[in-house]
């Protein structure tokens, strides 16, 4: 048992040490919002790249716009709808949760539920036929 404990403690110490080193940082909310938007808004001219990934001129301009708008006190929704008006819905990196596009989220949830229920029923049937 001592062996067991000792190595567990060793592991814990190493892990805690490394994790402690990475996460002790304060984050400022404006910067946070900027990073979030940069990942959630797509570059309209680059195939499938978010602003975060793209170095193109238009992407850099959009990033500047976002920074400016955050400084002027715009919130997330306002900034996003500003870009949607200009470049269309595809500028947002994920489907909207309203209307037809909500199916993008509903289908996965339903399929998970159905999958797990089916699995449960299958095991039950198999189990009963065994007895």
């Amino acid at each position: 048992m001592t062996y067991d404990k000792l190595s567990n403690i060793c592991f814990t110490v190493i892990l805690l040490f490394s994790i402690n080193a990475c996460f002790n940082s304060e984050i400022n909310p404006e910067e946070d919002l900027y990073i979030k938007l940069e990942k959630e808004i797509m570059c309209p001219v680059c195939d499938g790249q978010s602003l975060d990934q793209s170095q193109s001129l238009i992407a850099n301009n959009m990033k500047d716009t976002i920074k400016k708008q955050i400084q002027e006190g715009y919130n997330e929704e306002q900034i996003k709808s500003y870009f949607v008006k200009r470049y269309g819905e595809s500028v947002i990196a994920y489907p909207s949760v309203r209307g037809f596009n909500s199916l993008a989220y509903i289908i996965p949830v339903i399929s998970i539920i159905i999958g797990i229920i089916t699995l449960g029923l299958y095991i039950k049937k198999d189990k009963n036929s065994n007895e």
Binding site: Q49, Y94, N101, A104, K127
Partner: protein, 648 residues
């Protein structure tokens, strides 16, 4: 040489068609002579594929720019070592490369098969030849790499700058090999379906080849991520791009398969289910090829895009119908087992749950990949489905799979008592609770990271505990814990190899959580000799250097990195290579990496000779993502290592 390569390919086509026809006919008529003749032409067609690849390489090496493919993908000043990359840099060559891999693996399947199985492989090899003939057909009529231009060119266009990176020697070949290799498990499952003698040897063959495909594909994906991280210069490694996703989907299903096949080995159950999984993997791999070659979705991976999408779509539809048909009409040949699942809490049930979750994740990713098309059809509006969507949908399921990874292996076959499960999990649960408290104390309070880190830790303690118990029980014979540990690992290669792979997945997940939730960055202007401090680093900008070669001009920025106590830690070099022929800049970031965090500098713009804009980011735990690769490989090799015991 051009004509030679082309004619050899035609010969290969005829031989493939011939061998597939004779294999299948011989199989039905049980005619040995036919099968013998088919086998000869099977090996000969493989030889032809080799020769035609060889002639394309010769064209590259002799700078024969009358060949359009060579003209488009190489140049006089290209380093000859890059010929290997140039070979698969475009549509035609990459198809020929896939065909080559397919041929090598087809040959190996038959050549290395155990003697008692060899005679039964006729049908499988017939299907393999049929697949080769499809590829050769596409090459001959739609994507001929030996096409000759009438204009005489003195120099070629050169290879795409993005592909000039050491990662390109391994990432595309491994990934393409991974996708191509899935045909092998598929034809093995077909062999099992058509085997009226209901032989069981099929499944051990299926296990070996599925593991090989799984490792190839997994390594290809991981090295792709590494390449993106080090060269694409955006600080990320996985962007849920459609082409990345189509590689991940079959890998997830294969992961399900290599688990459920263990149930088959142990208890003879799930045979039909395994065959369904292989077929699904195969179809997903074909879907990947279709999307890669001109599918309906946009992607950053446009290297091999072409207008051949329709051909691969057609092939995919044919193969899907074929596998459905064979499963429906031939499933009776799969001997069912009398064994049944006995309890919700058993290894079998946990594997089934793992299977359901992995397959669903794969299908949900597929839904995300196809959703932009669905949305256009039904609403007419164009939308994007990118990283945030997949993180939200696939992320939580993958996390639950990780938790299952800890619990599954400690459940015993058939039946496990609830109390005994809890008892063996208790130490891990207690330690994880302490870990949870610790995380809260150091200020980690976001829901997803905290749950993920605790789960990873939980699974880690379980594996470690299993190993400690195993090692201690072997300590009786020797006093050396290390040799006892090795003996314990070797004693059950399948299980311990699996554990090692699980550790690799934990390392991967650990790195993903760190980089995903705790990365930090600033964009800033910096002048030569200026020093910027960011987090625990002082970044001193040494100088900018220019280097001009015939093909490109390189602008290098050199930085010296010091810690907060002004102690020198290392140097970072970040650069832009400008390729005038392509009017393209390839960005290479500079990275200073350690297991705790990476300091990552992306050169954004060189403003003048003394100043530039850079992005400095700190990516915690990124090192662990790359560390998982070798661990995964070691685990797989241990699992695959032939053991004498299994033959008994």
């Amino acid at each position: 040489m051009n004509n030679f390569g082309f004619y050899i390919l035609i010969l290969g086509f005829i031989l493939s068609i011939y061998s597939s026809t004779l294999f299948i006919l011989g199989f039905y008529k049980e005619n040995r002579t036919m099968i013998l003749s088919a086998t000869t032409s099977y090996y000969l067609s493989i030889l032809m594929i080799f020769v035609s690849c060889f002639s394309l390489i010769t064209l590259f090496l002799s700078n024969d720019f009358s060949n359009i493919y060579v003209f488009n993908h190489s140049s006089l000043d290209m380093n000859k070592a890059l010929t290997f990359v140039a070979f698969y840099a475009g549509n035609e060559g990459s198809l020929l490369y896939i065909l080559l891999v397919h041929a090598i693996l087809s040959g190996s399947l038959l050549f290395f098969a155990p003697n008692e199985t060899k005679s039964k492989l006729a049908y499988s090899c017939g299907i393999l030849s049929l697949i080769s003939s499809f590829y050769i057909f596409v090459l001959l009529f739609f994507a001929n790499p030996f096409e000759v231009s009438e204009i005489i060119q003195s120099d070629g266009k050169g290879i795409n700058p993005l592909l000039r990176h050491p990662g390109m020697y391994i990432h595309p070949p491994l990934l393409m090999s991974g996708l191509a290799s899935i045909s092998i498990p598929f034809v093995i499952s077909q062999g099992a379906l058509f085997d009226s003698k209901k032989d069981n040897n099929w499944f051990s063959l299926l296990r070996i080849w599925s593991l090989i495909s799984w490792a190839l594909l997994g390594a290809g994906l991981l090295i792709g991520a590494w390449w993106a991280y080090t060269i694409l210069g955006w600080g990320g490694y996985w962007s849920w791009d459609p082409i990345e996703n189509v590689g991940l989907m079959p890998w997830l299903v294969l992961t399900a398969l290599i688990h459920s096949i263990m149930v088959e080995e142990r208890r003879g159950m799930f045979r039909l289910w395994n065959i369904i999984l292989v077929s699904l993997t195969f179809i997903l791999a074909l879907l990947g090829t279709f999307i890669n070659r001109g599918g309906p979705v946009v992607s950053v991976h446009s290297f091999a895009a072409s207008s051949l999408g329709f051909l691969f779509l057609g092939f995919m539809i044919v193969m899907t119908s074929y596998s459905l048909f064979t499963i429906i009409y031939k499933y009776k040949n799969i001997k069912g087992s009398k064994n049944k699942i006995e309890s919700y809490l058993s290894r079998e049930s946990s594997f089934l749950l793992n299977n359901v979750l992995l397959v669903l994740t794969s299908l949900i990713i597929l839904w995300g990949v196809l959703f932009p098309v669905v949305s256009i059809i039904f609403t007419g509006t164009e939308i994007s489905v990118s990283a945030p969507y997949f993180n939200k949908t696939a992320g939580p399921i993958l996390l639950s799979i990780i938790i299952l990874m800890g619990i599954g292996p400690i459940l015993s076959w058939r039946k496990t008592k609830f109390e005994s499960t809890i008892k063996s999990l208790l130490p891990s649960i207690i330690i994880s609770v302490f870990f949870f408290i610790y995380l809260i104390l150091i200020g980690i309070n976001k829901f997803f990271p905290i749950v993920s880190l605790c789960s990873i830790f939980f699974v880690l303690t379980i594996v470690v505990k299993e190993w400690i118990i195993g090692t201690r029980s072997r300590m009786n014979n020797s006093k050396n814990p290390f040799s006892a540990f090795i003996k314990m690992i070797i004693s059950n290669r399948g299980r311990n190899g699996g554990y090692i792979v699980h550790l690799a997945i934990l390392a991967l997940a650990f790195g993903v959580v760190g980089t995903k939730f705790y990365d930090q960055r600033i964009d800033t202007n910096i002048r030569v000799t200026e020093e910027i401090s960011f987090k625990n680093y002082n970044i001193y900008f040494e100088n900018i250097e220019q280097e001009i070669t015939s093909g490109n001009s390189i602008t290098k920025a050199k930085f010296s990195i010091y810690n907060t106590e002004k102690k020198f830690i290392g140097k970072i070099e970040a650069m832009h290579s400008y390729y005038p022929n392509y009017n393209q800049i390839s960005v290479r970031s500079g990275i200073l990496s350690n297991p705790i965090e990476d300091l990552y500098i992306i050169p954004k713009d060189f403003i003048d000779e003394t100043s530039m804009t850079i992005r400095i980011s700190v990516n915690p735990l990124a090192w662990w993502i790359w560390a998982s690769g070798p661990i995964l490989l070691i685990g797989t090799v241990i699992t695959l290592w032939p053991s004498k015991l299994r033959k008994d």
